[in-house]
């Protein structure tokens, strides 16, 4: 039963985990060089890896990099500024909790709240709609998250929200960024672990052109420890064997076509456009914006958002030292950052990676990143 302790334990069973770690170790040893670098692009994968301490069991030669998979972290300053400006203009905002403290050019939404802005934290866009139904004032939903979350926004718009509800879309689309990362100079990524939940929506078929173009294997993996270990094992074996294809290791949730119903809703409401991801600059088709047919619920068209006055503040020295961009691109680790753990900690974050529960820096600060904690079972 997926929801029961029995079922979860099957996917957290230490005996199976040990066996998979051994298999992973053998596969890495077969490749015979160090490091073997793979990347995942999902905050939830990094959280699971960190929470269960899986890195202490990985073979030393295996480098599992977290790429730009934290939807909060890659939301760029100008988008935060739009939310902050609206709040300071007196418009009531609803947002997912994680976005509250992400730094914009001149402060975060939390700072705007402290200055009198009204911001409601919600755990679902449906909750924001309920808020709008319960009042006559305007409610703007600050919509962040990848496609897995964007489909929920699409669903409430298609269901017909109240007239005082509108959406400020900062949604992102993950597949294009895998292209960008593969093409970055200095990138040594040899394979990708794709996010199981996003693939539940999109299907795994859309990775096939990517594999064909870049010759890099892709494995779709779930989020329990065994899912991750099995996914990594399969991925390393494919690297070892030179297999260029997509492997679905999360068949209980992911099919080749994905969820057609959700996809239809997503693309009826949103269109992909190029945009900036924090630290990674331009990602073609990486941002999701409301189609013209939805102009009537688009906060960017309903309101005049005055961000210019926020931009008089030059970024502080600290912000200039922040290397979140490189961390999200997978070419640096939190421990490479001069601010990590000192000037930049969860209670006073400088960069987005320290704010979000899915941010690399935050996760490493919580769980210790890759410290040498001893007891490395299954090492190669």
């Amino acid at each position: 039963m997926p929801g029961s302790a029995v079922d979860r334990l099957e996917f957290r069973d230490p005996a199976r985990a040990r066996a998979l770690n051994d298999a992973l170790g053998r596969a890495v040893a077969d490749i015979g060089r160090s490091p073997v670098s793979v990347m995942h692009v999902c905050g939830s994968h990094e959280q699971a890896i960190a929470k269960f301490g899986l890195r202490t069991g990985f073979p030393r030669a295996l480098n599992v990099i977290m790429g730009p998979g934290c939807p909060v972290c890659i939301t760029d300053m100008p988008e935060i500024d739009e939310g902050v400006a609206l709040a300071l203009q007196g418009v009531r905002l609803a947002t997912y909790g994680d976005m509250l403290r992400v730094p914009g050019t001149a402060g975060s939404l939390a700072d705007a709240q402290a200055a009198g802005g009204r911001i409601d934290v919600v755990y679902s866009v449906a909750q924001a709609v309920e808020l709008a139904r319960a009042t006559t004032e305007e409610i703007v939903f600050f919509a962040t998250g990848f496609e897995t979350t964007a489909v929920a926004t699409a669903a409430v718009l298609l269901a017909g929200p109240p007239k005082n509800f509108s959406v400020l879309s900062a949604h992102k689309y993950i597949p294009p960024v895998m292209e960008i990362v593969s093409e970055m100079p200095g990138s040594r990524v040899e394979g990708f672990l794709a996010a199981g939940h996003a693939a539940t929506i999109t299907g795994w078929g859309l990775f096939e052109p990517f594999v064909a173009r870049h010759g890099l294997p892709v494995v779709v993996a779930g989020f329990e420890p065994l899912d991750i270990l099995a996914g990594l094992t399969r991925l390393v074996e494919m690297i070892r064997d030179g297999t260029r294809e997509v492997a679905n290791m999360f068949p209980r949730c992911v099919t080749r076509e994905g969820n057609r119903n959700a996809q239809a809703q997503l693309w009826r409401v949103f269109r992909p456009i190029g945009g900036r991801w924090r630290g990674i600059a331009h990602v073609p088709n990486g941002n999701l914006r409301l189609r013209d047919e939805w102009a009537h619920v688009d906060a960017r068209r309903r309101f005049t958002i005055d961000v210019a006055k926020l931009w008089d503040h030059a970024p502080s020295t600290l912000v200039r030292q922040c290397i979140c961009g490189n961390i999200m691109a997978g070419i640096a680790s939190p421990s490479d950052c001069a601010l990590f753990g000192g000037a930049c900690v969860p209670e006073s974050p400088v960069g987005a990676c320290m704010v979000s529960s899915e941010g690399t820096c935050r996760i490493w600060h919580e769980y210790g990143g890759v410290p040498d904690l001893g007891s490395r079972g299954g090492a190669a």
């Binding site: 029961s4 669903a155 539940t200 969820n259 959700a262």
Partner: protein, 103 residues
């Protein structure tokens, strides 16, 4: 938090279902699933919306997939006794495991 968690459906009405997540009951929206959902089904929930019905047999399929992966990655002669022990444990576990309907 409410990101991609699986749960058991205990009630269904037109557009929503009550889902049990490890003893906590939450109402989720059904706008996004691509097949009908019934009481006793398992669903993957994300920010208050069910995004996939999880067929119970797929849980076992996944575990079998991992076991096949382990068997394939074994080196030739099976002289590794420790691994043999672990595989035995897994086989014993697989026989006893299975899905039981929630009472």
């Amino acid at each position: 938090m409410c990101l991609g968690v699986p749960g058991l459906v205990t009630e269904v009405d037109d557009l929503t279902a009550v889902v049990d997540f490890w003893g906590v009951r939450r109402r989720v929206r059904l706008d996004l699933v691509d097949e009908p959902v019934a009481v006793g089904d398992y669903v993957l929930n994300h920010v208050g919306f069910a995004i996939r019905r999880i067929p119970p047999e797929d849980v076992q399929t996944t575990l079998a997939l991992y076991e096949a992966l382990l068997r394939e990655s074994q080196r030739g002669d099976g002289a590794d006794l420790m691994t043999a022990d672990v595989l035995g444990e897994i086989a014993a576990g697989a026989e006893g495991s299975g899905l039981r309907a929630k009472g």
